[in-house]
């Protein structure tokens, strides 16, 4: 049982990273559909650096950095040149998938040492709860801390207030003297860094290899998670565990020899995403209560 829950948590970590980063970007009013591309860039750089230096921790930083740089490309176009955010995000995913494959081509078939498990002293000794919560790799702890940090910054600090103001009404925020594009740039870069970390988690912990397109749609599921979480950070955590659970259910089902063809089990995470999206969005008030009013809208000063 503990083992099963541990696997669920492992599977959900990349989603926690990517979704909470995207959540901040969306709260500032930017819809970046390039999460999948940023995750892949994070994954390939994390793997390459971890292999080259022998240090998975350095790999983790490289992943975060690569994600942030990739997000910078998005920011240059979508913010600097005011291009359509939906199309720019798609371009970023196509570009990131291609470039990560190109960079990673010589790395296919290599293996690295993953991040070591860190047991928190004393707490890890607690039966069941300790095993589930306090016997993880460093990135899991960082992920949970980051979600807390996002929630705190967003709801309890001045910075959070500015981010929300820019996301809800960019004209007013501009009139108050805040730099709309500056705030959005930082939010997008932060989102990229988090997506990069989420991507880095795949080769550093889940499977110690690099494979083309190894994120397998996780970036898109992260985008759905933001809607699922109705733009509240803590709900990302719950949502990610749900999706992690569904992904694991398919593996568990295969292992137990369920008679359902494996393809149908593999459909589960995607179908669940759709169902969850419907359930959330059918209740308009709930869905839109925290959704940034200026999400995806282009800002330029001459109005």
């Amino acid at each position: 049982m503990e083992q099963l829950i541990l696997t669920v948590i492992l599977t959900s970590v990349p989603l926690i990273f990517a979704a909470s980063g995207e959540l901040i970007a969306e709260r500032s009013g930017v819809l970046n559909l390039g999460v999948e591309g940023m995750m892949l860039m994070g994954a390939v750089f994390a793997f390459a650096v971890a292999m080259g230096t022998g240090s998975p921790v350095l790999g983790m930083f490289a992943g975060a950095f690569a994600g942030a740089i990739t997000a910078g490309i998005f920011a240059f176009f979508a913010l600097g040149l005011a291009t359509n955010q939906v199309a720019t995000g798609l371009a970023l995913t196509i570009f990131g998938t291609g470039l990560s494959g190109l960079i990673g081509a010589p790395l296919v078939g290599q293996a690295i040492d993953g991040l070591p498990q860190i047991n928190i002293p004393l707490l890890a000794e607690i039966p069941f709860f300790g095993i589930v919560m306090f016997q993880h790799d460093i990135m899991f702890y960082i992920a949970v801390i980051m979600v807390g940090l996002c929630a705190w910054v967003l709801n309890a600090t001045r910075i959070g207030l500015i981010i929300r103001a820019v996301g809800d009404n960019h004209d007013s925020a501009h009139a108050l003297g805040y730099s709309v594009l500056g705030v959005r740039l930082l939010a997008v870069i932060f989102g990229g860094m988090m997506a990069g970390l989420g991507g880095a988690y795949l080769p550093l912990v889940l499977t110690p290899h690099w494979a083309e397109g190894m994120t397998a749609g996780r970036g898109w599921i992260a985008l759905a998670l933001v809607v699922f979480a109705s733009w509240r950070p803590w709900r990302v955590l719950g949502g990610a565990f749900v999706f992690g659970g569904i992904t694991i259910m398919q593996l568990a089902g295969q292992a137990r020899g369920w008679t359902i063809p494996s393809q149908f089990l593999s459909m589960l995470p995607y179908l669940a995403t759709i169902i969850v999206l419907v359930l959330i969005s059918r209740n308009r008030e709930f869905a839109l209560a925290n959704s940034p009013a200026c999400l995806g809208r282009i800002f330029h000063t001459e109005k």
Partner: protein
Amino acid sequence: MISLVPRKDISLALTVMTPVIAITLTLVVGAIIFATLGYDPLQALYQFFVAPVSRPDQVANLFVKACPLIIIASGLVFCYRANVWNIGAEGQLILGAVFSGYVALTFSDLPGWAMMPLMVFAGALGGLLWAMIPALLKTRFNTNEILVSLMLTYVAALFIDWIVRGPWRDPMSFGFPLTKMYEDAALISRIEFPGIGYLGQLHWGVVGALMLALGAWVVLARMLVGFQVKVMGFAPRAGRFAGCSPAFVTVMVLGISGAAAGVAGMVEVSANIGQLQPDISFGYGFTAIIVAFLARLNPLAVIGAGLVVALAELGGDSAQIALGMPKVVTGVFKGILLFMLLAGETFNRFHVEIRLPRSAKAKQTGG
């Protein structure tokens, strides 16, 4: 300070030049990336964009490669004009292939004249029905069509994988995940030119694709439906006052693009593969998005744009063979191209004004 100032009037020359400039810039950026990764940039570009079209039959094959892209993009144009973001054409293509495959495999003794129209219809229906899922969820529950249509692509890919490994697998396929070969009546034949014979793999589906693009242009430019689509994209509020229903337009454009993608799937299988297998598309549904943008959402321009992007696809194969590059490198080009096109759109609508700080300006005029 650098700022974007809207242009008063948009010049035609600029509109035409934007894609050309975008392509040129893409080549430059591509060359830089190749050089950084240690490939000879000129050699790489040659393998990419010249080597694949150096013989007449290769040019014909370029049209074959562009065929599904043109068909899908002709439909997507409607969606994107109406600001409806269908990015699941890949899944709709697969369903089109499955539906038309059902006709081909079940009614295998139908004569050609009945088989072809029925298969086209089935293909369109399959794509249309698959696209109705995001359409109805969008209009009924306000669910985001981007995410739903994309998730359905993964579902469709798994579905065809199951069908060719499970219920529809040919018992004589030695365990390979393949259905029976289609009968001749269900295959799209190659075009035989009098005196020359066959030209590459050029087939009648290509002619159909060109006609479809033309038809899409007529509908969009000359018919009420096309007008409604454009109004909903430009000014949804004005559209509502004029009596257009946003829900109707959403369902319609998703239906059109889904049906087009489904037909593309039918053509791809019937002309090039001849049976169903797990992989029937090389991401055409996604690539067509770039084609639609390169064409600036104009169905006639989709033909040219389809050929350009198909060249990049064939170039990817050629670079893979000649230089040992991974196939995904095409994605790099496609991504950059889309970036450049979007940036071009901005420069079309705005001009960049660089305002110097006051002191610097004073110095300039003073000196």
